[in-house]
Symmetry: C4
Subunit: 196 residues, 4 copies
């Protein structure tokens, strides 16, 4: 089975999940009060930016995997669907964090956000190792060092997100800052150091 339509479908879900984030950005105030309301709504812009970037990073990783993967079987299609269901879920906890950044609901919001990203990284792990173990779905001409490089990069993902999620039990705000830092670190690290 070819992978072209898997990629079209995945690109669609990534693009929509990222773009739908804007639906939840709102600022309602009558007349001249709008300016103050817009400044007050900064958690929404921050949540939008972090989630868009996080979904963008996942798209980059999905892209990197699919460049080495040549075939798909039924199980791989369903693993991919489970992964996409997690990614399409991200707008929901994003909205929760944006709405509760300044009240007591932040702990529950951060746990939901973190749990979503932890499960997503488990799906991503499964997605990649199902394809790469024994080079099951890998293109014959794919460079083994690149396959190993992706495996190495994916291994700590689940632990990192699970850790940042658990931090929410002690300090919800620290947990939320960690989610932003993980995304920022990933961009800097893979831009500055990685050579693909």
């Amino acid at each position: 089975m070819q992978t072209a339509r898997l990629e079209t479908f995945a690109d669609g879900v990534f693009a929509i999940a990222a773009t739908l984030l804007i639906i939840d950005v709102t600022a309602n105030a009558p007349g001249a009060a709008l300016g103050a309301e817009l400044r007050h709504a900064w958690p929404q812009y921050a949540a939008y930016a972090v989630s868009f970037l996080t979904i963008g990073i996942m798209w980059v990783n999905h892209h990197a995997c699919m460049q080495l993967i040549e075939r798909a079987d039924r199980r791989f299609l369903f693993i991919n669907i489970a992964l996409l269901a997690c990614i399409a879920f991200v707008p929901f906890p994003t909205r929760l964090i944006a709405e509760h950044l300044r009240d007591d609901g932040l702990r529950a919001a951060a746990l939901t956000y973190g749990l979503t990203l932890t499960i997503t990284s488990v799906c991503f792990f499964t997605f990649w190792f199902y394809a790469s173990i024994g080079r099951r779905l890998i293109a014959p001409d794919a460079d083994e060092r690149m396959v190993q490089g992706i495996s190495r990069a994916f291994r700590p993902g689940t632990a990192i997100y699970a850790g940042a999620t658990l931090v929410a039990l002690l300090s919800p705000i620290a947990s939320v800052v960690l989610f932003a830092l993980i995304a920022a670190f990933y961009v800097v690290e893979s831009s500055v150091f990685a050579r693909l």
Copy 2:
């Protein structure tokens, strides 16, 4: 007529219908009450998961059909549009079930959900048999055993969904559990036994 744009359009509708499901997942509660509200909202997550998976399965099936179909005529384009209209309708009854899982509205919600999936499977049946009877739109080099295999797999679909829908008249909750089991069974069956 080539089928490339039919597939792009279909992939778009599948991806959007699946991703739009998240818009209806909501949890509103002030401050510390958010945690309890989020746990209480589990029917929404379950409905999201089952519907995302169901749309994903339909995408896999559409994909499997299109690998054997080489051409399209006008009638086939319109059958495809009717099929996509059914799939894009799924978020509506999903929302109904999520909202009414714990009240007396579940019967009406389950009937609506089941009716939608039953009509969808009639469209899918028409889609495939219009293309495959006499190999009308099938690629000349497509393996006849694969064509027969899909025909065999599609035949019971409408009866299964119609049956699960009628169960809602006796027990709405049993009907809803059946919809989830049908999706789960399909994934297990086609992953473990099917060899494509």
Copy 3:
């Protein structure tokens, strides 16, 4: 300039405009009253079906045009964007008709719907004749009879939609029935008689 990305972008807008129609389908009622509410909401399903079909027909026509068009210039890209802006607007008057089918607002709703489709068909007319006059953007190997056939099919479109819109001044309900009949007639006519 190649037309591949024009088609991807257009397919995206068609798919999203059609799929977004479901967001406006709603039925709110507590408990056992849901069944009655769902039956009462039939104008919403009908409006969804007619608009999905109408957008689907426009996609089929766009598809048919693009099979003969080989190149694009800047002006053509902007005409295409204007056409897509009209198509992406369709969910708004659809919602108006669904909400006002049984009250005095139907005249305004039908005029808005009809005006949208009339302007859309003017854009479609411009889209096709800009590309086809003197075979400006037509592929050299495209069959001249097919080019002429599309031109012939497109010519009455604007007058038909303008006529159905004006009917709303006399009878809004007749106008709405006409919009449904135009879509249905198109499917039957192009499926039964046209040979592409």
Copy 4:
């Protein structure tokens, strides 16, 4: 790294951001009052048209850049994601302008809209110059005059949008008219004079 999936993902975000604009177009009025309400809602249609056109123009520009760009590296993928995050943000300030065109909130709305477009044009500037400086990601056979032409066309963009944004401090309505004129001017200029 190839650019095909970058384009699919980008086309998805452009198409969805443009099409989502319609969600915010609303007109609520009972019965016969709908006609007056629909006429009163004209700022929403104007905002929809200007923003759809503006996103369309950005798509045309993205398209023009990608025709000369052959490769992508990690940094370029992240610059592209930042650019898409800006474009997907446009529906939010569009909604603000449509809602506040006739009240004291217009200044804040116009500043938000202008700031969004200014940051977007900074991202676009970075996107293009990252790819084109030293022809880093440019196809070897791309015409140097076309590369220079795009560079020349992109240079004033940020200053123009920053200027139109600052005008909002003096006159919000003049600022909003400028945003519409910039889009209209671009279409006329690139259609009439540019030859690509």
